[in-house]
């Protein structure tokens, strides 16, 4: 009898720990699998723990602290619960008598009130420090200032003082030891709520109509960082993607200079330009140097300097561009760009013209 009981005792915890072990291993394997299935394209897995900018770094440090405190609480309470469930299970032998009836204990209850309060205070202080460090960071005079405006379903970027207007693909200078450069973004919305989120560079901040928000970043490495709209904004919220190119200071200067130029004038593509100027294109799109000054859609002055169209939904190449103008719904159903109903020859001319907008 005694032996049987000990065996049972040994079995239950073994099963529980095995199950827990399997679950943990499974989770680990899946996380690894998730990370490995990513294509080699750089930074395509935007883990919040793989941070490359001060705000994201501070959040990562804070998150490690919060995770270890909550992890510890989890381990303690999980073990206690498992222990109780195994240890105090009813055994076949003694169902007759009720266990001792205990109604409570003031000391114990005080203990498990005061300890959590202390933990909360510590967590709060650690958090408040990071809130202050990120939100109340002073804006240096030499910071790059950009206004980001959310639209259904794309991003407009205006570089104050530099006269640059672009869309969907943000260029910012790297901030390294030799050139610490912060980029401050003023966040506005033209229609509904949106949210600006580049997980590796900073936490998200919403773009809300009739309200001005601000966020900042100082990427420590050059390269491409992916993000997307993180506040449901309508039909194509899913394809409101965001690309941030972090350039070296020299590359950034070159990029700015190129963007400041008026649109390329190619005498051979006058026909295409006329299509742009004579149809409804110019109601929504601007091309610097033509009479198109619309702001409802992205500025196309340097369209070909961007690697994607439709806010990251498709690669920027002549086929996609043609398809996009002909039938936007085939790339991004529900986008606000209408099908332009152009003839084939008009389409070809227009696409050839757009191809010259370097």
């Amino acid at each position: 009898m005694r032996i049987v009981e000990t065996m049972q005792k040994a079995d239950r915890p073994a099963i529980i720990s095995r199950v827990t072990g399997v679950v943990l291993i499974l989770a680990g394997v899946l996380l690894a699998a998730g990370l490995c299935t990513a294509t080699p394209q750089d930074n395509s897995v935007t883990s919040i723990f793989d941070s490359h900018s001060t705000p994201a770094d501070s959040i990562r440090h804070l998150s490690f602290f919060v995770l270890s405190v909550t992890g510890l609480i989890f381990l303690v309470v999980f073990s206690l619960l498992s222990y109780v469930v195994v240890k105090f299970r009813s055994r076949a032998a003694d169902t007759e008598r009720e266990p001792a009836q205990v109604y409570g204990s003031t000391q114990i209850e005080l203990a498990w009130t005061i300890i959590p309060i202390l933990i909360v205070v510590v967590l709060f202080l650690a958090t408040a420090r990071v809130i202050h460090a990120i939100q109340d960071a002073p804006k240096p005079a030499e910071a790059v200032e950009i206004t980001a405006i959310g639209h259904q379903f794309w991003w407009e970027f205006r570089y104050s003082g530099l006269g640059v207007v672009t869309a969907n693909e943000l260029h910012v200078p790297v901030s390294d030891q030799s050139h610490p450069t912060q980029t401050f973004l003023k966040l506005l919305s033209a229609d509904t709520d949106h949210s600006f989120w580049i997980p590796q560079l900073a936490g998200k901040t919403d773009l809300i109509p009739n309200r001005v928000n601000e966020t900042w970043l100082d990427p420590h490495e050059t390269g491409l960082f992916l993000g997307q709209c993180a506040q449901y904004c309508g039909t194509q919220h899913a394809k409101m993607l965001l690309r941030v190119y972090v350039d070296s200071p020299e590359d950034f200067k070159l990029w700015v200079r190129a963007q400041q130029q008026p649109a390329n004038e190619d005498a051979k593509e006058v026909a295409g330009r006329q299509v742009f100027e004579r149809t409804a294109c110019l109601n929504c799109h601007a091309i610097n140097g033509t009479n198109g000054t619309g702001r409802f859609g992205p500025d196309l002055t340097h369209l070909m300097s961007r690697s994607t169209i439709a806010s990251g939904a498709a690669e920027n190449n002549p086929q996609n561009l043609r398809l996009w103008i002909q039938n936007p719904d085939s790339i991004k159903p529900g986008s606000l760009m209408p099908a332009m109903k152009l003839s084939d020859s008009e389409l070809d001319a227009l696409v050839r013209y757009l191809e010259t907008l370097q």
Binding site: Q200, G203, K204, N213, A238
Partner: protein
């Protein structure tokens, strides 16, 4: 006495036509029948909401999947959220409250039986109105559709400019109607508990289920009222030229957020507190011990209710509040963890030294304890506002609140079903099917919602109908979908168990669990009048006193 009453009733039923039976159910003002109606109505919508969830999961199984269009996907997540919160969770909990509160406090009915019936039919009307939008969303022109503005209906997305047609109106009016129903039910529960307790049942002897439903009802009054006000303001904006939320005319989008979340966060506690109540009734019975620290449990519940009224803006950490506001809502949110932790420890203290019987209701309650622990801890992470700037609005937060709602609320609810089904129907639910249901659901739940945290950490936002391959989200989303199917199968096992056991289950008798509260002193199902003579109690566990006259609780209280 009670078995005679039952025999007479069945004889009558046999001689009645189905029209008469239907008429009786439609016109009933009996709290038990209304409770059952609430529960059946909610179960129906649980299946509908589950189908919507499945559609969402199939669409997200692969990157660039085109199972449904973006428009349909957006309707699905809006309807899934709205349905599950307003037409599953709320009515099912009101159903249990309706059924159990009068029985547990020794009353013959609710304080206002006709108001009770009115509330139910108002709620039922709300649900039908919401789903009528599938047919009539666009009124006379074009085919119907459903609301697609998300279940928060953030301004200005829900304004006429961005949500033309009538789908948002169906959403608004459905919530207004069911909201009035909820307010009336809350008033009814409060009035019942305050004024209809049987002799001897002081507030400090009331079962915890009654206490927690009292607190829940108070919170419903405070939470649903601002929601209803906001819905009226939205209607004024949409039809009478108001500008409350019209950002083009100086209105405020954040005003709607405040209104919505001053409802939305207490709502979470409105849903979880009755589930705390189930756990607080079931865990003691299957541990064979009284609840550990009854006064502290009551105090912690009241404390949660108070603190939870001041945490709403933690849903709005990303809207650009000042660092002071963010700090304030961080500490209040973390503070909720203290009374909640006390509850977990008290349940643990109840089991400590007990003789735990692993019947199905207890299994679900133990699942609830483990999962609610994890849900609480991810809640602490989200409360840390800078961490929330990364986690909020991502799949991490989706995993977190499903952990609360499925892992916490639904598990406790399943426990309640297995525990009180014998009282409601007179027959036991099958233990075999029950255990199959438990293990299948547990596996499906963890496969879905444990893994769902990870895409959030890898930058996957919620409410997207598709995503690019190669972001590290593919495999995880596929497995999450598999888990959702397992949960679906488990739910079918549950529904089958409900139906099969109704006809073939073993007879329950008055008190199948050897429990201690008043509902187990009457027949199963109870007679229409509940108690032939109103009981008199002298402790928190009147049936313990009856069963153990040599050692009654009343000696220690």
């Amino acid at each position: 006495m009670s078995s005679d009453a039952i025999a007479i009733q069945t004889a009558e039923v046999a001689g009645r036509s189905w029209v008469e039976t239907l008429h009786e159910w439609v016109t009933t003002v009996d709290h038990k029948r209304l409770g059952v109606l609430y529960i059946l109505y909610a179960l129906f919508f649980l299946v509908i909401g589950g189908i919507e969830a499945t559609i969402i999961r199939i669409q997200l199984m692969h990157p660039h999947n085109d199972f449904v269009s973006p428009q349909v996907f957006n309707r699905m997540f809006t309807m899934h959220g709205t349905t599950m919160i307003f037409f599953v969770a709320m009515p099912i909990l009101f159903g249990f409250a309706n059924y159990l509160v009068p029985l547990m406090i020794g009353a013959r009915d609710m304080a206002f039986p006709r108001l009770n019936a009115f509330s139910f039919w108002l709620t039922a009307f709300g649900g039908l109105l919401l789903y009528f939008s599938l047919l009539g969303g666009n009124g006379l022109y074009g085919a119907g559709n459903a609301p697609d503005v998300g279940w928060w209906a953030y301004a200005p997305l829900a304004s006429r400019a961005f949500s033309p047609g009538h789908s948002s109106d169906y959403w608004t009016i459905a919530l207004l109607a069911s909201g009035f129903g909820s307010i009336a039910t809350a008033i009814n529960i409060i009035a019942t508990i305050v004024s209809m307790r049987c002799p001897g049942m002081t507030l400090s002897r009331m079962p915890l289920l009654a206490w927690m439903n009292l607190v829940m009802s108070g919170m419903v009054l405070l939470a649903i009222s601002p929601l209803s006000a906001a819905q009226l303001m939205l209607l004024v904006d949409r039809y009478l030229g108001g500008h409350f939320f019209d950002t083009q005319a100086g209105g405020s989008a954040t005003l709607w957020m405040h209104f919505f979340w001053i409802f939305g966060h207490p709502e979470v506690y409105v849903l979880i507190i009755p589930c705390f109540a189930f756990a607080s009734e079931i865990i003691p019975v299957f541990s064979r011990k009284p609840i550990f620290g009854y006064p502290v449990m009551v105090g912690a519940t009241v404390c949660i209710a108070f603190v939870s009224m001041s945490v709403w803006a933690h849903h709005m950490f990303t809207i650009g509040m000042s660092s002071y506001a963010n700090s304030f809502f961080t500490i209040t949110t973390m503070a909720v963890g203290v009374p909640t932790g006390i509850k977990i420890f008290n349940w643990l203290g109840t089991m400590w030294g007990g003789k735990i019987q692993f019947r199905t209701p207890m299994l679900f309650c133990i699942g609830f304890l483990f999962q609610f622990l994890i849900a609480g801890l991810t809640g602490i992470m989200l409360a840390s506002s800078p961490f929330d700037w990364q986690l909020g609005g991502s799949y991490f937060v989706v995993a977190h609140f499903h952990y609360v709602i499925v892992g916490g609320i639904l598990f406790a609810l399943f426990g309640a079903f297995y525990y009180w089904y014998p009282k409601i129907t007179g027959r036991m639910l099958s233990e075999g099917l029950g255990k199959l249901h438990f293990w299948l659901f547990l596996i499906g739940f963890h496969l879905t919602f444990d893994l769902m945290h990870i895409p959030g950490l890898l930058g996957m936002p919620r409410r997207i109908y598709t995503y690019e391959p190669g972001r590290g989200w593919d495999t995880l989303n596929f497995l999450v979908t598999i888990g959702a199917f397992i949960q679906g199968i488990a739910t079918l096992v549950f529904v089958a168990n409900l139906i099969i056991s109704y006809f073939k289950g073993t007879k329950a008798g008055n008190d199948p669990w050897d429990a201690w509260t008043l509902e187990w002193s009457v027949s199963s199902p109870p007679a229409e009048y509940n108690f032939a003579s109103i009981p008199r109690v002298s402790s928190r566990r009147p049936l313990w006193d009856l069963k153990h006259p040599e050692d009654p609780d009343s000696r220690y209280e």
